[in-house]
Amino acid sequence: MDLSRLERRSEIEWIVPQSGRMRVPAIIYASEQLIAAMDDKVYQQATQVAMLPGIVEASYAMPDAHWGYGFPIGGVAAFDPQEGGVVSAGGVGFDISCGVRTLHTGLALADIEAVKTKLADTLYARIPAGVGSTGQLRLSVQEMDEMLVGGARWAVGRGYGEAVDLELMEEGGCMARADPAQVSERAKRRQRDEMGTLGSGNHYLEVQQVTRILDPVRAQAFGLVLGDVVVSIHCGSRGLGHQIGTEYLREMAIAAPAAGIVLPDRELACAPLQSRLGKRYLGAMRAAINCALANRQILTQLTRDAFSEVLPRARLQLLYDVSHNTCKEENHDVGGKPRRLFVHRKGATRAFGPGHPALPAAYRESGQPVLIGGSMGTASYILAGMASDSGKAFASACHGAGRSMSRHEALRRWHGRALVDDLAARGILIRCPSLRGVAEEAPLAYKDVTAVVEASELAGLARVVARLEPLICIKG
């Protein structure tokens, strides 16, 4: 990125001043090294988001920001319905409520070493992963609607997991005001065979080891000890969310001119929050959030089943579950005044700080666990929200490493088999239906996740608590 167009406010904060059609400035949080490596498209996209009606404070980009579609991936923007604010289907994206959940296992590395290969094979056999895979569960029309209203709570009611899991998720595992009537038959049809599936691309299930504790106090609050084995699952709302995104993006792009909205890029398709279309989208998007929560809950049970088979001593208890492609209605303090805003996070994680009323009692003092997925050969991190009421970027943080290289380039540089063998030599077992998929997801195609989380902490977005390194990775 050309830094000459930016004003540097601090070591970690870069401003694109308001100009032209921008209604607010754009703010990018990144170290000099990260921002220099960022694509110029992040500048362009963050600037265009700042042009949308009713945007409040600034258009933000997180340290892992990269070229997305419409919004940058790693983009955060909040809109006020009282000021003509909008909801953008492009600002949430196709993979609605894609997110990460992490589970304790109650095991240490020594407990799994002898059975690691068997565990990898059992997980791979039980977790439907990759293109064309299908889940065991088929829902009737009525059951589908119940799932879309109930989320993970519905899944627990069907025997997937335990009620205690629900306390340790955003929204208590059930997004309120979901409206299945706003979800098309085609979207429901696309989900029919996909409940309890991982998906593909950057989605994964990893068995990981805690290799560093960086904040002992919060690590204790999160129940993390050096050497612990944990499991992290990264996936979203599957075909249902993709189809909702597709259909509402189109409808909003076509309806925007009549609503008086000039779109700087059609991918920023949006509708006024107070319009019928805006409200319909919110109802459908919340249903997709519930679909993602239910999906991760089902996958959690499949994971527990796999562990029970191989390591009956394991106790897989939820640490937390975060979603990083959403639009959520939240209270935020802006310029000393409380406001009810619709916060879009696209490839960005909510990061509520200590004392936030939405946090479960277990994390009220520590701040919210912020789960950051890395690439399969490097590391993942657990952070803790540190925002106060007037927190930065509407209490948001990064979501992952962020790609630094296109899939095309990754495929040119690496071969899947060689990568799998190299990782195996380092003790990381990969199970994936496609070697080409492995090459496209090569660890070096991603930014340095450590630099990303360190920048997030320096920016005051979230505090780094623990580093996790992969032992087994089931790739979709």
Binding site: H66, G70, G93, R190, T246, R266, A269, R407
Partner: protein
């Protein structure tokens, strides 16, 4: 010679098709879409699926066409290797031929979630050929 290509996008991938007509460019863009997932030459074009779209402009029609294929691939668990496209006014009528995904044979790399409006373009190039392209989310 292939008349399709992929182009660079940070997180995702661009699909691009060229042709003497809009229809041929749409066909080639569809082959580029299949190539995101697998080598189109590995797909046996056996089972026909009929597709129809209607959109207010040609660029939206391109996105609708690719999204219709994504929907059919997703719900039928199929891959497509051959296409015929007819466009009349705002209406596209097409047949896609393909087969059920065979993981062992196709090694499908990644599922396509949706066609986006990013880098969306349907235009005639200086050499007279049509170019149809957009970024797809994977």
């Amino acid at each position: 010679m292939n008349n399709w290509a992929h182009f660079r996008h940070g997180a995702d991938i661009g699909v691009r098709g060229f042709g003497a007509t809009r229809e041929e460019a749409f066909v080639q863009a569809a082959l580029a879409l299949t190539a995101v997932i697998t080598d189109p030459a590995l797909v046996a074009s056996m089972v026909p699926v009929v597709i129809a779209c209607d959109a207010p402009d040609d660029e939206l029609l391109l996105v609708d066409w690719l999204n219709a294929l994504i929907f059919e691939m997703s719900t039928r668990r199929m891959l497509f290797g051959r296409f015929e496209v007819a466009i009349s006014g705002s209406v596209l009528e097409a047949t896609a031929w393909g087969e059920t995904i065979d993981v062992e044979r196709h090694h499908p790399a990644v599922e396509v979630k949706g066609a986006t409006y990013t880098e969306l373009d349907l235009s005639r190039r200086p050499d007279g050929r049509w170019r149809a392209q957009c970024v797809v989310d994977v």
